[in-house]
Amino acid sequence: MASLQGKRTVRGKIRPPPRRVATEVDYDIHWTTLQNAIITIHEQKAYMLSYEEIYRCGYNLVIHKWGERLYNGVKELIEQYLESEAETKVVPVLGIADTSPAEGVQVLKAMQRLWRHHVTCLLMMSDILVHMDRNWVSPNRLPKTYDMGLFLFRDTVIRSPRYLIQSHLQKVLLDQITLERKGDVIDRGAVKSCTEMLLEMKENNGNDPIYISDFENSFIETSREFYRLESDDLVRRFDPPEYMRKVEYRLDEEQLRCSHYLTEKTEPKIRLIVEQEMIAKHMRTVMEMENWGLKQLLINSRLGDLERMYRLFSRVPNGARELQGGLSEYIRECGKSINANVQASAIDTVEKGVPLGVALALRWVQEVLDLKERFGAFLAQAFAKDKSFETAINSAFESFINLNPKAPEFMSLFIDNKLKKDFKGKSDDEIDTILNKTTTLFRFLSDKDIFERYYKQHLSSRLLHGKSLSDEVERGMISKLKIECGYQFTSKLEGMFTDMRLSTDTMSAFREFLENAVDTPPMELNVTVLTSTFWPVSSTPVSCNLPSQFLAASKVFERFYTSRHNGRKLTWHATMGNVDLRATFNSRKHELNVSTMAAIVLLIFNDIPDGETIPYGIIEQETGLPADQLKRTLQSVACGKFKILIKEPRSRDIEETDVFKFNSAFSEKLSRIKIQTIASKVESSSELKETHEKVEDARKHMAEAAIVRVMKNRKTLDHNNLITEVIAQLQGRFNPAPSMIKKRIEALIDREYLERAPGDRAIYNYLA
């Protein structure tokens, strides 16, 4: 609000009171009073001044249009005062800063005293000049008394053109901080009061504190230099764990410094400096250091140090990625040696026989699981379950697991072993944990279709030979696979279970049927009916000449079965079954459980007198078994633990010149004896080749089916997009090569499912 005079327009009876015209004498009277009052305030004797009187002087000067003279007069007075105070109180101590950094605090204290007193005086001057501030200063857009006083302090004291106060103040502040960084105890209060002072005064724009230009900028620069030197020194002198502890200590210290005696606004800036100088520039060195670098921390499971490394590295750009790179490298290295172990010993496997192969498979999976477990712990306890770390760890596992071509078979064997033996006596929770872990490894496999093939084989052997420990656990595993790969993947596996259940029902019906039947089979018969598409059995069974009683029994069942399921065709896979025989030896009788093939062989010896031999050639002729099957069978009954036949000459392997006779002197403690067929558990090379051919075949079908699905949907599509979509569809099962898909497309064009678009060979049309 302006003073009254300018505004007044008065009508009617109301008249302004008569006012005497003010003269120069009036000005002098008022100004002298005010001037003396300001001097008194500076002398800290304001209690002697009547506020009302001093105020009225200011008021009178303003209403008599002497506002500008008053304002400038006050300004000049303050300026003179500050000038002389700086000269007498501050300048004399400046020299101390040059000679002793520690004593430099004297400069801060002198500055602090002057500043405090100045601010107190300014507040009182603002009190008495409030009328001027309102009615003259504001309308003229000038800084009010208080702000004007702050600017004066900035320009006459801090940035004095006559004395080097600014540079000394800055040097003392930086010296104090450096001293503290080196471990000295400093007067934080003195530093704080000076930074607060610098924050209080503003640049001419009235916004930015002079703290930035007069202190912070050089603070940041000197800090960068300090930490550059320090980190170079520390990284040379200390091992990574200790270095990281020191970095963390520095980060905390700088943060505390900002909150104690600088300002929160400096914190991100200084933090960036420490991060750049101490972390970003050295993280690779620290990680790769021989002695207690990342690798050693991992090997020794130093969770605390790893966690610190994670926390520190994550602060800087690319830090997390560097650390992930280091982890991946280590995982791949471990994986390489796990894989190499298997391959090196694989050479022995061929020589020493099959079971070692299984042991190797188990060891491989167990080692991978152990490694995974360790990294699971690192992820949870050191890397804060960080998703990007999880991804990096997983992809490292994925890459080395798929470098082992036997990985799918090994995993299936591992599960097979667990389901057959290892789970005995384990609680449901323990079993579930192991299966879950195995499933996470399965997730990394790129050739899931190959795994499926092995799993089917192993499952079929477990089911048909009754070797599975628990139906429930089997189904549990299948449902886990179903979650991973979907219904398609497991539908055949589930079909196998259905066949087993239906066969049980069928057998009880068969037994009822036999009670009323005229012709009963000469022996008890147990049949498992398998749906041929679900099971890994070849469509043509192994050829053999069944003994007459077997043949008769099978005919009875066939009659029973076809009467109930008209139109179904039964094919007998006699070689897959087993037989209980009652054998009479010299001293006692034994019940022998042998494979059907062994039974066929043994029954031949019923037809000849005791003690006579049968040459290999005759057995081969009589049984009609293929040579490799026959040899394995003979090995199991003549060279194994239980020698039912005696081979001449005695040796471990079967030759075509060997002759055999019944071992009538055979005797064992147990009356019931189970004779295992010597079976190759890890595939022989020819089997491996066969498996691969089958897998290739299946992949061709899957690829063609996917191509047709995509094209049926799109009708027209260019080559590259078709490849991309097909790969996306197949990835869950295996990783198809684009060249393979291309061949399938060509095959489909030949079979007229697709055509190349006329005019553009890179585009295909779907032919309905």
């Binding site: 609000m1 304001a46 209690y47 001044l49 009547s50 506020y51 009302e52 009225r56 009328h131 309102r134």
Partner: protein, 117 residues
């Protein structure tokens, strides 16, 4: 009843009850009673004048106001305590001058509007 507040506060104007400020007004030095809490809350002038810095405080909160007529000052007090005032043509010019000096912008505005109509 919002009027009750004004009426109650009106009774405190120049009342010795609880008074802690002595106001010596006009050339004739009429003594009036004031309450620092109310005066300092309502007026920046009094807020500053009655701080501990000045002689007024060391004289037991005694403030001399020689250049305002006691009758006008009493009206100012009434305005400070109650926020209301009866204006008349005879006093309005003096009130304007006093309100200007004492930085009472509300009062100044009201008086000027009154003077112009």
């Amino acid at each position: 009843n919002p009027d009750a507040l004004g009426a109650d506060l009106f009774r405190l104007v120049n009342s010795p009850v609880g008074a802690d400020v002595r106001l010596i007004v006009g050339e004739e030095k009429v003594v009036m009673h004031g309450h620092a809490l109310i005066l300092q809350t309502r007026s920046e002038y009094f807020a500053r004048a009655l701080t501990t810095s000045w002689k007024e405080a060391s004289d037991n909160n005694t403030l001399h106001k020689p250049n305002i007529l006691p009758s006008i000052f009493l009206q100012i007090l009434q305005f400070l305590y109650t926020g209301t005032l009866d204006l008349s043509e005879t006093t309005v010019m003096d009130l304007i001058r006093a309100a200007d000096e004492l930085l009472l912008e509300d009062l100044l505005y009201g008086c000027e509007r009154f003077a112009l109509t």
